[in-house]
Symmetry: C2
Subunit: 164 residues, 2 copies
């Protein structure tokens, strides 16, 4: 945005500063959305979770199918996911990166879910998490999510013992 205003309109110094401040705000607002994602996951709060997604969102989830399209579908996915786990659910995030534009942004990070399934199974693996955001009515919403673990294509195994 700063670059465009400079090229097209030769902005005054205070306008550039305002733009820089906006960019800082955008990054802070996206951090808040990621914090809400973590909070919703920990609390198994489907409504808070779904408030983060844009209409028409597409998810490439860690489990099948290949993609989930739309909030109605994805609400069911989160309901089923939350039903798998006992509380407490602990989440650790590392290598968080946020890149913002004027109305599109993206963020990638590694996430470890430390939780116990209702069947007693532990989930100690690190996964990769990408969010692509659209700014809609001045709010950063997740329009696309991609979450995965790497695969060993020779053995056909999901690789669950990797560390950052």
């Amino acid at each position: 945005l700063a670059q465009i205003l400079q090229t097209k309109n030769k902005p005054r110094e205070e306008e550039i500063m305002a733009t820089k401040k906006d960019e800082g705000n955008d990054e802070a607002e996206i951090r808040q959305q990621i914090d809400r994602f973590v909070k919703a996951f920990r609390a198994r709060d489907v409504n808070l979770m779904m408030s983060l997604y844009a209409p028409g969102m597409v998810s490439f989830d860690i489990v099948p199918p290949l993609q989930d399209v739309g909030k109605d579908v994805y609400r069911k996915v989160w309901e089923e996911t939350f039903a798998l786990f006992q509380e407490p659910i602990d989440i650790e995030i590392c290598d968080l990166s946020i890149t913002t534009g004027n109305d599109i942004a993206f963020s990638h990070k590694l996430l470890r879910l430390q939780a116990t399934r209702t069947n007693g199974q532990k989930t100690p693996y690190w996964e990769r998490l990408t969010f692509c955001f659209r700014k809609i009515d001045d709010k950063w919403m997740i329009a696309h999510e991609h979450v995965s673990v790497p695969a060993d294509l020779k053995s056909g195994r999901a690789v669950l013992d990797l560390k950052p």
Copy 2:
């Protein structure tokens, strides 16, 4: 961009039209970059492939490790990947979606690689592919890539038999 110019500068009609045209160009340019990705993959052309990535790019690849950081690292990954396959390599893409902003964009799609490894193994699976772009020196470059197949977390298997 259109929205911002409208809010901040009340543009004339021809400026709005120019903006709309730019947005169309951005989507077309990103399609061209994806076409180049497919072309580079088919031809096992490492230089063409690496010309698509931004400095400091981060990849969450289909195979370990959790992430590859930087073009030097990722060039080696592509060299090793291309060495795995015999020609011809056929690629099919479906459910392509492109979302553009003024200098950030993202795209997601499903991709099937139909190829034979040098060990004779076939790769008939569908994978999920996300690109996050930054516009650098007026070119759309891949700053983040995420490619995966879903996992069956109960059995620990990568799920390779899914169809769009």
